[in-house]
């Protein structure tokens, strides 16, 4: 109980920062909406109307999930490492992992609520909604571990801007933000659909739109869990190696 009390202010800080640094959130949302709009305009020209409606529903769902599963923890950790501020945090008696997680979760909070409302409106299958609720909890941890893991790359590379470009592009493609992943070649799609980026954007979108049987649901849950375990282990391991290379001075 005491531990939870210790960490609560961090969650509260995350939620508050959303309101204090409004302009940043608004800018992020505007840019995401712009990305969605561009994709919608192109597909509007390319597809007949009925196909376009399905495409639009899919793109709206994937683009909204991007606002929940953000790359913020990645750049936050990378910033701590490259500026040397990491020293401040690892010398304190708090868990760096939970600190960043709760702060990020606080910032996700409002969008998460918005998405869940969107879910209830757009979906007619109650079971899917309940499943997605639990799915998101596990997927959130998985994605968060992945983001921290990628942020730890900052121990080895001195520039952050290439990460922005590359991760952004990978997210755009694998997250189904340009087009549904199943438009790719069948042979590639059969294994590509299980990558962590698709599991948080493409999979929920498809489940909401076309529903899914219990087998598929359990399968995706299992894969997310596997990624979670794997990333958690890698994250701790890479951190141990990386901290030896850590210079602790402003780069």
């Amino acid at each position: 109980m005491k531990k939870i009390k210790k960490y609560m202010p961090i969650l509260y800080l995350g939620m508050k920062d959303n309101l204090v640094f409004r302009s940043n959130i608004i800018l992020t949302i505007i840019l995401q909406v712009a990305n969605l709009a561009v994709s919608l305009w192109i597909w509007n020209l390319l597809l007949p109307h009925s196909d376009f409606i399905n495409m639009a529903r899919y793109l709206i769902l994937t683009n909204t999930t991007t606002l929940i599963f953000t790359t913020t923890p990645l750049y936050y950790l990378a910033g701590l490492i490259s500026s040397g501020r990491l020293s401040m945090y690892i010398t304190k008696p708090i868990s760096l992992f939970w600190y960043i997680f709760l702060y990020s979760f606080g910032r996700q909070f409002y969008i998460l609520i918005f998405y869940l409302v969107l879910l209830v409106i757009l979906s007619n299958n109650f079971i899917i909604v309940v499943f997605l609720f639990f799915y998101f909890i596990v997927a959130n941890f998985m994605f968060f571990n992945l983001m921290l893991l990628l942020g730890e790359l900052s121990f080895w590379i001195i520039n952050m801007w290439p990460l922005r470009n590359g991760i952004n592009a990978i997210y755009l493609l694998l997250g189904g933000l340009y087009f549904p992943l199943n438009m790719l070649d069948k042979r590639i799609y059969s294994w590509l659909q299980y990558n962590p980026f698709s599991l948080v954007t493409d999979v929920p979108a498809r489940l909401i739109i076309s529903g899914g049987n219990t087998n598929a649901i359990i399968k995706y849950f299992f894969v997310v869990f596997l990624w979670l375990v794997g990333f958690n282990f890698l994250r701790k391991y890479i951190f141990k190696i990386g901290i030896k290379k850590y210079e602790g001075v402003g780069a």
Binding site: F21, S23, N24, L27, T28, L31, A34, N35, V38, W41, I42, N44, L45, L46, L47, L153, W156, I157, I158, N159, M160, W161, P162, L163, R164, N165, G166, I167, N168, A169, I170, L172, L173, Y178, F179, M183, L184
Partner: protein, 255 residues
């Protein structure tokens, strides 16, 4: 001036060789972006779909052109702009301002990003391959090369303006990456956007003009829009220098 240039080049080469991991990752990640754009273009044109008035090859010319310009910008200016971003926000700009050279250029050109040179070469080769399929004259080819430089300069000037705005809007961290995102959205044919968006981003904030300029030129040759583009580039450059002078006055050092 030349000595500064030589020093910067030497420092960049040394950094490239020392931080090999960074260089490799930079190269790979930037390349991924280009590949994904090409794959997406492939998907758009699959199953007999097409954007009216644009062949698949013309679409690929658009993508490789914009990426070529972006990589040219990256080679010369991205390191400077990344540091400028942090320096303005943290009040670390003193070293640049004290020097007896133009602070405007000194803050923008701090190093040459060598991995981006490799990315540029790959994209440029692809651009040439796609251009060859269109059968263009030598004059057109020369103009396209000039346009790559021009659009790279436009990216630079717009980024410079955005970063200078950080002197006033200190909390708006995302401002440093806005131009990059806008150019990503704009690397699509102008006609897919609603008329009002077209008008804003062609005539006021010429980002759509900057990305589509090569395809426009190959279709219609040199017309009024061409001259308009060059005039706007000079205009934005003047604005950026003016804003920079104003911004420095507002600058508060953290030392």
């Amino acid at each position: 001036m030349i000595r500064i240039g030589k020093t910067i080049w030497k420092k960049s080469i040394e950094e490239f060789l020392i931080y090999r991991t960074t260089s490799i990752i930079t190269f790979v990640l930037a390349l991924i972006f280009l590949i994904i754009e090409l794959v997406t273009g492939n998907i758009y044109y699959a199953d007999n779909r097409s954007i009216p008035g644009w062949t698949e090859n013309q679409y690929f010319i658009l993508i490789t052109f914009v990426n070529s310009s972006t990589y040219v910008y990256n080679i010369f200016f991205i390191l400077g702009h990344e540091e400028l971003n942090d320096d303005i926000l943290e009040g670390n700009l003193d070293y640049v301002l004290i020097r007896p050279s133009s602070s405007y250029w000194l803050s923008a050109i701090r190093g040459i990003d060598i991995p981006s040179i490799f990315n540029f070469i790959i994209t440029y080769i692809l651009l040439i391959i796609f251009l060859n399929k269109e059968v263009i004259t030598q004059f057109q080819f020369i103009v396209v090369n000039i346009l790559i430089i021009t659009t790279a300069l436009m990216i630079f000037v717009l980024n410079q303006i955005c970063l200078t705005l950080l002197f006033w809007f200190n909390g708006l961290v995302g401002l440093g990456g806005v131009v990059e995102d806008l150019f990503n959205f704009a690397s699509r044919p102008t006609k897919i956007f609603p008329k009002i968006i077209q008008n804003i981003f062609v005539f006021v904030l010429p980002i759509l003009l900057a990305t589509n300029i090569t395809n426009e030129f190959l279709k219609y040759g040199i017309q009024s829009y061409f001259i308009y583009y060059l005039i706007l580039l000079v205009l934005f450059y003047v604005i950026s220098r003016f804003l920079w002078r104003l911004g420095i006055k507002k600058y508060v050092s953290a030392n």
